[in-house]
Symmetry: D2
Subunit: 333 residues, 4 copies
């Protein structure tokens, strides 16, 4: 019973079906009919004209977004626990040509306007220090918390005031939207966001993420950078088709709701063990080494987050029986 | 009737079936059972121990190979018409951190020991010029010719003598092997090759290529570079499964033979129009603008290679009826 | 008797005196009084407002200029024999983050509007090829020829039409101006030039070159890139003082005229041996291996340019007796 | 009366004299007689064979050293307050091609074996995180403390154990040696150091620093990187001559002792105001805003380090009268 990572989940049936449906001769790269429908489909979803590039991984989507917002001699501001800082092997540095990531504080991997202002305030305005060019947040965060539309907008206002770009790593954007019940626009362009890495893979996709640009012009150079990074798949229709399949009928929301609900069940069972509110599909709990061993002995697989802490991740296809079993097992500890 | 590019072909049934078969919960990235079987499968094929990384595109495979062989202050030697020089938007420069590509001559996009020696001979051995660190050839070439084992070995010997790495861009490696009827080893490590970009996508794959290292040690840093370039897919099993499906029962050779045979049929029909021998799955013919228009009017789609020249590309799934129709149409010009 | 390279010449007395004069406590980096006078001094010389950065080498000046004009995914157009292509160990690639240099043809290392148009015409307008972002010429060229104001303006017009930047490598800009007798403005901004690497070191300086920006805004990011490249000297006043000393009283022109005159003397003696017109301070002549050996036996040091060819370079401090001796020796061959 | 920065000091007379002495025709770049003497002179000083490259700035020396020790996909470990992290505008990232700097703790900008072990211990050994490849310390530190031979050796032992390189930023190495009275070897190779940025500019030089490699082989690629970064000065003899002049007769130590002594005088006067021991040529003291204003009103120039803190820097040429005046003024606060 696997609560290790949503990366390990299966692809949902709609995605598999879409691959078969797209399996016919068409134009290479992104000249095919599916790829051409992406801008429209996501413009509908976001209630404004957007430019969209499919891309195989979230790391690449994040890095391409940051390269569009920050020059090689600049700095990206992010949380100390951000995925771009800790889990991408320096991909942002690679794609930007050596920009620096400067780290802000905040509980649950959430930056605040105050922590970001403190960070910016500490940067001397001279050529000896890299200057801030972009702010990047993760929604839902690496600790399973969400930024509300108001919180996002406050950061967007800050970014605008300092004339820096604003990127959202949305590897679990679907889970955030599902949790908040808001419009996708409320967490993005209406809040001042320039670019969103819109994750599908953790949420039931197979190999396709979206890079969504809300600010006109940013996509242009990114198309060259995507090719140059070896990310312009020659049979791009298979990526576009996955995304379209998940947008169609709001499969993406259905999947995220399922994952969130499973996490809520576990979180409720965890009670006082809960370290942070489980606002998306991740549950962080206190467990002793013996308790962790006991859970594992019962067949539950998960990640040791730190001494005495475990991370339990649900996904769109978490088996309800497994979830119930885990909830019972935690209660019984 | 599409003879534009093998990139536009469908994925073969075995690949589609493999995706469904691999669609269950497993470990993320390359920790799954399919990914773990790759080294063994390709070691069997190449008759020696190799290290293999799946990767989504040929451009990324080529660039990662070159980054493993050439430092940022070095030079890669390749043909003037090489894909890495003309069709990858500077990906080799991006992945290597700014190495230079120095260009050798040769008919049909084939370099020769002589042309490479001439190129090397023109480089001053001082710090003002970038020094050669790698040789890269494409087999089959961008013009549909093949390097024989002996030709490859002669270049391998040259590379060894100059102590530079040797890379093969094998986007159409299957077509070369199918044509030559030799062992894959004869075109690679037995001929002194350090790294091979082994293409599957043009040959019936969906989104998976292989980077095969014959020289121990080269894979180590490449694993970090792959992650850093956003190419470590979180559901890597879907890439590994495609490759295993195409290796199983030699589907890769079956597909390549079909494409080559279709090209041979067209080449035979072309007669004196043939610009180069059609040794793989590309046919370059002389056609006037009127003739090209006539072919297009009959429903044939293809690439204008230059004034008075057309490129016709076949693929594993070229419809025999379309091939026969094209052959007739060319004869009738 | 040294005719090997103007790089090997001494620094002129005004420069040495300026170093002593500047040797007192002042603000670090470029906050000192000498550095602050540079913009004004060069704005006067160029008859318009310019922004100037001192920099220690011509290679760094060229590369910073190119980085200001060309993104990492773009291309710089230059002559096949350009210093930036052949003699800077990939510095343009390093500073731009991996842009490509695309090579134009032309006699005597001079590109023409036609050769540049041919080069641009061969670039496909898709994301698979790097797109042109800058044109770079060398004046005087690596072969000692000069671009006239009209020739420069024709290239500037081309650059404007294609919306690409225009850079002049002026390692021997002084020699070109001295030869042409025109205003420095005529070879730069009036001809559409955005940035000039204005060389002083070969012309009697010790360690200071200038990067002059005619197009507002380009200097801003360059100040960060200069620091980031380790080129913001902490005692920058010693660089600024050299340049001011050479501008004062037109020492730069006096020096260049002396070098040009010495070259003219040698060129006249060379007669039919002359390979190219000696328009600046370099003379390329035909000599057999025996003749070259004979000249060397008489104490003349110079560079073998190619089989049967020698390069003779004069400098601001070429000893008239040595020049006369060389002229005689060549006549006597 | 200037206590702002040792960067602003004058060049010492021996250096100025050396420039004049070197001002004659010689071979360009580093082929001249002065440059050729460097390896020997520094091998003598360090009591073993070393390889030396002159370089114009400390930022470039540091970055070239780090590029020799750390690949683009790796990490450099350094103190949170290191110059390479905070004052070089991302130069290490630029020269390494995007390596990350990971930050260790410690008082007075000094790391300890414990703080470095803690940092390393927090790095997961997988491809998602950059792995440590080098440790860099500054001696004397940015806060004017020194690492003793034993402290350096303990870090060297740690580096060896983790198989990572060890670099010393010695912008004020002379001040550390002068303070400790040890052999230069004791602070470098005998303590496991691979590369030293040996600073001369702050200590009375004009424009020359040294990059000293103790580990054979590291210099080779660095020679290309130096050229590629635009740091191979064409009249390199003027850099080499400065260094030789400062080594001759231990001018470097004489200068450093003078600066240290001036700092000691001020530190003694500071008494309880002293924030850290003044072990080199920097004094950090507590002063209120009013007190700082009072000092400035008396003609003293210095840097506000933080709220209620001032940094006072002495140099080789600090006027004893000014130093005495400052000591009195501080006592009188």
């Amino acid at each position: 019973m696997r609560f290790f990572s949503d990366n390990a989940a299966a692809a949902c049936p709609e995605v598999i079906a879409a691959l078969s449906a797209a399996n016919r001769l068409d134009t290479a790269y992104d000249g095919d009919e599916w790829s051409k429908r992406l801008d429209g489909a996501l413009s509908d979803l976001f209630e404004r004209e957007v430019e969209v590039l499919w891309i195989a991984t979230g790391t690449a989507a994040n890095s391409l977004a940051l390269a569009a917002l920050c020059p090689s001699h600049g700095a990206v501001l992010c949380h100390r626990d951000a995925h771009i800082q800790n889990d991408e092997c320096g991909a942002p540095e690679f794609f930007t040509g050596g920009a620096k990531l400067l780290l802000a504080e905040g509980d649950g991997a959430k930056v605040t306007p105050e922590s970001v202002e403190t960070l910016i305030g500490g940067i001397r305005r001279d050529v000896h220090q890299v200057q801030p060019h972009a702010l990047s947040i993760t929604n839902a965060t690496e600790y399973g918390l969400v930024y509300t539309p108001a919180e996002t907008a406050a950061l967007g206002e800050l970014a605008k005031r300092h004339r820096i770009g604003f990127h959202v790593d949305g590897a679990r954007f679907a889970n955030a939207v599902a949790r908040l019940g808001c419009a996708p626009a409320d967490l993005t362009w209406r809040a001042g966001v320039d670019a969103l890495s819109f994750g599908f893979v953790k949420n039931g996709g197979l190999s396709a993420e979206c890079l969504v640009f809300f600010t006109p012009g940013l996509a242009d150079a990114t198309r060259y950078r995507r090719k140059r990074a070896g990310h312009l798949a020659s049979k791009g229709r298979f990526l576009a088709a996955q995304i379209l399949a998940m947008l169609d009928g709001d499969v993406w929301l259905r999947n995220a709701r399922a994952a969130n609900a499973a996490a809520a069940t576990i979180a409720e069972a965890a009670g006082d063990r809960l370290i942070l509110a489980a606002e998306a599909n991740e549950v962080f709990i206190k467990v002793s080494a013996d308790e962790a061993a006991s859970l594992r002995a019962q067949g539950f697989d998960f990640y040791d987050w730190g001494p005495g802490e475990a991370r339990l991740v649900t996904s769109w296809d978490s088996d309800p029986a497994h979830v119930a079993a885990l909830a019972s097992a935690i209660r019984a500890l």
